[in-house]
């Protein structure tokens, strides 16, 4: 009887341990289809010949999967380094990095578009020991560099970078007899053009503005206008957007309400894009990556691009991503090799051309793709005066959420622009104070 009980117990424990082990999630990894076969003399590497090192790369799942081809190329070039790819939706990247870092098992390499936040919370390590600063400054545009640095220290290597542009429905402009705006067009021009392209009875609108509480675009689309009004986002680690310039910018956007689709406080970017390709909205502004997104989803749609207008001054924000290494990585050298490969001029050029993004490296910007058409305009705006990188403050997720909240309050008329910006600044400063040196 006793023996039987022990046998039953042991069986149950073994089954239970299998069940528990199977419940753990593992990062997805690229299947190695076959052992790499050398068809030519292998490229000399510094890595040890025999031991295979595994690194984890957390990428944005929203990115086109052509990126995985480059990872495979890297593994073929460095057969002793295996890359486990963890594809995470862009909005969840930061959360996952926080969680895994706190749990002690972060990805070795990750894609960052919130470098300041990552630095403030010790989620990313400095790459100054790996990078030749002079070469870095030569290779990458100022836009690309801004995303990779914080307080002038290099923490990541640029992957893509682009300033906001106006994305236009060429057909609606043509039918209305309105010329595509060019560099130097003003807020007044924007108002006039929006009015000309609006016919509420027909359900067509000149300007698309995002006001949803779930979309980063709500605050993203406000920042350029703040800068164009002569304002700043932060100054000396305090919110600075609740200045006269900020109020002016917000009041201006609210003045465009007659030309914006109704109910825009519940509309996100996807819906704006849907409306534009359905010839209901003539233009909206966001990052140049939307050129590729719209073209890949609607290859027959005729998209035009215009630079941002000028208010009191020119101003714009840069969005983009850069590859960084976790300070907890146990394979920093291998992680660096991976970043070095993925951010080589060759890969960056191929990736950005294939995905219609704006490359951060000067060599790619000289390619024919960026010398004409929408990509030319998008590449040019990056070098306009008054362009600053976005998310250059700690806890950018939280602060942007606060901004979104109060912008909505102003759009809905629940608060005046001044009240909304003051309240937002008050909540921003409570958080920013925690990061005073």
């Amino acid at each position: 009887m006793y023996k039987r009980t022990i046998n039953i117990t042991l069986s149950i424990l073994i089954v239970a341990s299998f069940m528990l082990a199977s419940c753990q999630s593992q990062p997805t990894s690229i299947p190695v289809t076959e052992a790499p076969v050398a068809t030519e003399a292998p490229v000399a590497t510094e890595a040890p010949a025999m031991e295979v090192v595994e690194i984890t790369y957390m990428r944005q799942a929203d990115n086109p999967e052509i990126e995985l081809d480059y990872v495979k190329e890297f593994e073929e070039k460095y057969p002793n380094i295996k890359v486990n790819v963890d594809s995470v939706p862009a909005n969840d990247n930061y959360n996952k990095l926080v969680l895994t870092t706190n749990a002690g098992n972060p990805p070795d390499v990750f894609m960052s578009f919130w470098t300041a936040s990552a630095v403030s919370n010790n989620l990313i390590m400095s790459l100054e020991d790996y990078v030749d600063k002079e070469d870095f400054n030569k290779r990458f545009s100022s836009a690309g560099q801004s995303y990779a640095k914080y307080q002038d220290i290099i923490y990541a290597i640029p992957w893509r970078a682009g300033s906001s542009v106006f994305l236009l429905n060429c057909k609606m402009f043509e039918e209305a007899g309105v010329e595509i705006p060019t560099l130097g067009w003003t807020w007044d021009d924007l108002t006039v053009i929006s009015e000309k392209l609006t016919n509420r009875e027909k359900g067509t609108y000149g300007f698309g503005l995002v006001g949803s509480s779930t979309d980063y675009a709500t605050e993203w689309q406000f920042w350029p206008f703040l800068l164009q009004a002569g304002g700043k986002i932060t100054e000396n680690n305090r919110a600075a957007f609740n200045s006269e310039a900020g109020v002016e910018a917000l009041e201006y956007l609210i003045s465009l309400a007659p030309y914006i689709p109704e109910g825009f406080t519940s509309m996100d970017l996807n819906q704006i894009v849907d409306l534009m390709v359905s010839d209901k909205v003539a233009m909206f502004q966001d990052g140049p990556w939307f050129i590729g997104i719209i073209q890949s989803g609607h290859p027959n749609f005729d998209i035009c691009v215009a630079p941002m207008p000028v208010g009191k001054t020119s101003g714009n924000i840069i969005g983009g991503t850069a590859l960084g290494i976790s300070p907890l990585s146990e394979h920093k050298d291998e992680a660096w090799k991976f970043i070095e490969y993925m951010t080589s001029d060759d890969v960056l050029t191929r990736w950005n051309e294939a995905t219609h993004n704006i490359p951060p490296n000067n060599a790619a910007l000289e390619q024919p793709t960026y010398q004409e058409g929408p990509m030319f305009v998008a590449a040019q705006v990056v070098n306009q005066p008054g362009v600053i990188p976005a998310n250059q403050y700690p806890e950018s997720d939280a602060l942007n959420g606060i901004m979104r909240n109060y912008l909505q309050a102003a759009y809905l008329g629940e608060m005046t622009p001044k009240e909304a910006l003051d309240k937002a600044a008050e909540e921003w400063n409570i958080i920013l104070k925690q990061y005073d040196n």
Binding site: N121, T214, D397, A409, L412
Partner: protein, 314 residues
């Protein structure tokens, strides 16, 4: 857990008399506890351990991160949460959401179950409808949230388009309106989870002895009297238990609210679960987030105690 320990103690402690029946009974009882051991371990690892960690974080974690930084327990996190200017608003919104959704689940579930149970429908039709009713519950919450975001969109949603086509003067976009956002999320929750409660209530109804209804008919009871004096009293405990379960789980439900509104516009649909997420994963204040979770847990315990007492009274 206590019964488990007693069971093990029975096994290892010699019994007073050594008759074979008593020994066999002890071994049989103890073998049963071994069989539930994996489930217990699972429960401990996935429920007890995380709950204990949350409790510890709420009293011992200060500042950013999940490290235990205080040397002695402190109520600082709980006080900070209590003193938050939006605490009352978020609590009210949580109760509205959980209470509203629970009421919807139970009332609608009861009504639909009644229809399926009482009406002289074709059995094949009843079986089909039971499956069809389950469809909302079978869809992933993320998909439901995205579906309703599109459905309720003021420009691309079918409801708004229909209203425009008939010349309605309103702009239908509840997710962008502070007065309607939380209600929209509550109704979405109602749509999604009512089928589960419908099934539970239907099972309870079908367990009622038909003879009772026959006797009631003989006594002259009409349909409404049968529902109010037989059906409801007979399944009252089921309804109370389901209501308690529903309220507690809905109060902590995160997916729908976060994907549909992220607590907006202007925090009008912010509930405790989204507040916890924001505090933990945007502000990295895991101690405070745990304190908020502790408050939610306390509410759940209080609600459960009240309902269980009501059930026990029966």
């Amino acid at each position: 857990m206590l019964e488990y320990i007693v069971g093990v103690m029975n096994y290892i402690t010699p019994t007073k008399n050594f008759e074979e029946d008593a020994v066999m009974r002890n071994i049989k009882i103890s073998a049963a506890y071994w069989f539930i051991l994996p489930a217990m371990l699972f429960f401990i690892l996935l429920a007890i351990y995380p709950s204990a960690f949350v409790l510890i974080l709420s009293f011992f974690a200060t500042g950013k991160g999940i490290t235990i930084s205080a040397t002695h327990p402190s109520f600082a996190n709980i006080i900070a949460v209590w003193e938050n200017v939006n605490f009352g608003k978020f609590m009210y919104q949580t109760f509205f959401y959980a209470g509203g959704a629970t009421l919807l689940h139970i009332l609608l579930g009861f009504t639909l179950a009644l229809i399926l149970n009482i009406l002289p429908l074709n059995p094949a039709f009843t079986r089909t409808m039971r499956t069809v009713y389950l469809i909302p519950w079978a869809i992933t919450p993320t998909v439901v949230a995205i579906l309703f975001r599109i459905l309720l969109s003021p420009q691309v949603g079918p409801i708004a388009i229909y209203l425009k086509s008939i010349g309605a003067p309103i702009v239908f976009g509840p997710l962008g309106q502070p007065a309607w956002a939380l209600l929209a999320v509550t109704l979405t929750n109602g749509w999604m989870f009512t089928p589960f409660y419908l099934l539970m209530i239907l099972s309870a109804m079908q367990a009622i002895d038909p003879g009772i209804y026959e006797a009631a008919v003989v006594d002259g009871a009409n349909g409404f009297q049968q529902i109010f004096f037989i059906t409801i009293p007979m399944i009252k405990n089921t309804l109370l238990t389901l209501g308690m379960f529903d309220f507690v789980t809905t109060a902590g439900y995160f997916d729908l609210t976060w994907i549909m509104t992220q607590g907006g516009p202007i925090k009008s649909s912010e509930i405790i679960s989204t507040w916890v997420y924001r505090t933990a994963f945007q502000s990295f204040e895991f101690g405070k987030a745990s304190a908020i979770g502790l408050i939610l847990f306390s509410i759940s315990v209080i609600v459960s105690i009240i309902v269980l007492r009501a059930i026990n009274k029966e």
